[in-house]
């Protein structure tokens, strides 16, 4: 195997395993992730002094099993990642393809809203929206999804323009195909590999953004075990028990790294170089 394919493989394994864990979360959790037991607060993980195999990753400040919460947290992160890219991918691709295909005024309008979106400070606006509407999983997904489409729009616009200059689009036009047909049957299939790469980039960003929002207290509401929220809850106790923030932080970093590796690997093997 070539050296360049190793990152792709590692990324695919990380994302695949996390996705499986997320899907099978209810079957995998050793304890109820919401069951509190104040007599068993901050039990250390099994590999440390004072830990036991009863709670492999210890317990949190309310005595809830950390491993169970981590597993359910994978579900939340994956859900956020997938749901937001479906939403933002749809918005961005529609805008980008329309702008790239029609050009002229349509394109100018698309670029105008893209630059408006870029000028908006992402975290601040997301925080404000979640504060006003009230925090829930749906609100977080909608907020991030509605804010994170600009990369899809920019890339799909650029590649649509490229594709539209190619002979097969001209041939389809000459053969009397409608615009809708050309866009859905000729253009989209030929830009989809670029979109897949962008999807991985944005999925990673969405997951990190959700974690940041939850960390700041305006993301996924407790008692749901978002990894960002777990770090926020453990923050005040980190000086005594560093593992309460280390475990969810490492989980988050590994998942995002996996997604990025997957995206990078796909970029190379699909020949979709959008880096430049």
């Amino acid at each position: 195997m070539r050296t360049r394919q190793i990152p792709l493989l590692v990324g695919a394994v990380i994302v695949g395993v996390t996705a499986l864990v997320a899907l099978a979360a209810p079957l995998l959790v050793p304890h109820d992730p919401f069951a509190q037991n104040l007599a068993q607060r901050y039990i250390s993980p099994a590999w440390m002094a004072g830990g036991s195999s009863e709670h492999w990753f210890g317990t949190d400040g309310l005595g809830r099993d950390y491993l169970s919460r981590l597993i359910l947290g994978a579900r939340i992160s994956m859900l956020i990642g997938v749901a937001t890219i479906i939403l933002s991918g749809t918005i961005g691709t529609v805008l980008g393809v329309l702008g790239g295909y029609f050009g002229g005024k349509v394109d100018a309008f698309v670029m105008f809203i893209v630059s408006c979106r870029l000028a908006i400070p992402l975290i601040l606006v997301a925080l404000t929206v979640v504060f006003m509407v009230g925090s829930s999983l749906t609100v977080v997904v909608l907020t991030i999804g509605l804010l994170l489409w600009e990369r899809f729009a920019v890339v799909s616009r650029a590649v649509t323009r490229q594709v539209c200059g190619l002979d097969y689009v001209a041939a389809a036009w000459a053969a009397g195909c409608s615009r809708l047909w050309i866009i859905t049957r000729e253009v989209l299939p030929n830009i989809v590999h670029h979109l897949v790469v962008i999807a991985t980039v944005d999925m990673a960003i969405a997951i990190l953004l959700e974690a940041s929002l939850s960390f700041l207290g305006l993301g996924v509401p407790p008692p749901l075990p978002s990894w960002g929220l777990m770090i926020a809850e453990g923050k005040d106790y980190m000086y005594f028990k560093p593992w309460v923030i280390e475990i969810p932080g490492i989980a988050l970093a590994v998942l995002v790294l996996g997604i990025n590796l997957l995206g990078d690997g796909l970029r190379d093997s699909l020949g979709a170089n959008t880096d430049r």
Partner: protein, 292 residues
């Protein structure tokens, strides 16, 4: 044009939130109190009137008074902004100093294990959530080694950890840009010519390739500074730094809309300004971009 839209947006954002007066007066306030507060704050006028009034005063630098701090928003921001800007500038400098050399290194050894290693480290850097990195640095350097303060900006040592965390956001992007720019440059005709002339490798890299590869990086650092400032909320909360980001976070949590409006608008304008600056710097450095 973009500014105007953001203006409308930042206004709409804060007025879409139901009854402001109730959140200030408390849930059990009487209807009279609420009407009084509404009137005092001018919230009983029609929305377009409120907007035009607000935008007009905002254009003159008057964002009204904070509901909670009972201080002029402009002076609140004036008080908090220098810290955020200073940190942002230090961070972007750190990012350039780290990203450019490693980008060059990766490009010169393109396709080797060094290149792959730099790429993976950059990806890993991108994967680490900045608030978590901040907390871990506090644990290692603040609590474990006790080298640096864990919060606040009492002296210059307080700036070290926050600027590292802020720089982390920009490093992977700038590293990749440097790398791909250098890879292109090293393959170009003028580098081949320089080689054929028998120039030393160091002078080829520094004089010929880097000058061309660095241009987009310099230009993009202005945009990255915008992202860094926008992301300052998280870092300032982690390190308990009283900058604009912290101010905004506090205001959002309490529904202090004049402040939120002003900060969102401020960051947007700064971002638009930096994007423009980035274009200008790009054009100044690269004559080929002029007149396009």
């Amino acid at each position: 044009m973009v500014c105007l839209t953001v203006l409308i947006l930042s206004f709409g954002l804060s007025r879409a939130s139901g009854n402001l007066a109730i959140s200030i007066a408390g849930a059990d306030a009487s209807a009279e109190d609420i009407a009084k507060i509404n009137h005092e704050l001018g919230l009983d006028r029609p929305l377009p009137v409120q907007f035009v009034d607000w935008a007009n005063r905002a254009a003159h630098g008057d964002f009204g008074e904070s509901f909670l701090f009972h201080e002029k928003v402009s002076s609140l921001i004036e008080e908090h902004l220098p810290v955020t800007i200073t940190l942002g500038l230090i961070a972007i400098a750190v990012a350039v100093v780290v990203a450019v050399p490693f980008g060059i290194l990766a490009a010169l050894y393109e396709g080797t294990y060094i290149d792959v290693a730099v790429g993976v480290v950059a990806l890993a850097g991108q994967a680490i959530p900045s608030f978590w990195l901040g907390l871990m640095l506090i644990l290692w350097f603040g609590v474990g080694l006790q080298w640096l303060p864990i919060a606040g900006l009492d002296d210059w040592t307080g700036y070290i950890l926050p600027s590292i965390v802020l720089a982390f956001v920009a490093i992977p992007v700038m590293l990749r840009m440097t790398r791909s720019g250098m890879v292109d440059a090293m393959r170009s005709d003028y580098v081949r010519t320089a080689r054929a002339k028998g120039l030393a490798r160091i002078s080829i890299v520094a004089k010929h390739a880097l000058r061309n590869a660095a241009m987009p990086v310099v230009a993009v650092s202005a945009v990255q500074l915008g992202f860094i400032l926008g992301g300052s909320v998280v870092t300032e909360v982690v390190f308990n730094i009283r900058g604009v980001g912290y101010l905004a976070w506090e205001s959002i949590g309490k529904g202090d809309f004049p402040v939120i409006q002003a900060v969102v608008l401020l960051f947007s304008i700064i971002f638009v300004g930096l994007t423009l600056l980035s274009d200008l710097v790009g054009a100044a450095l690269d004559p080929r971009l002029r007149g396009r």
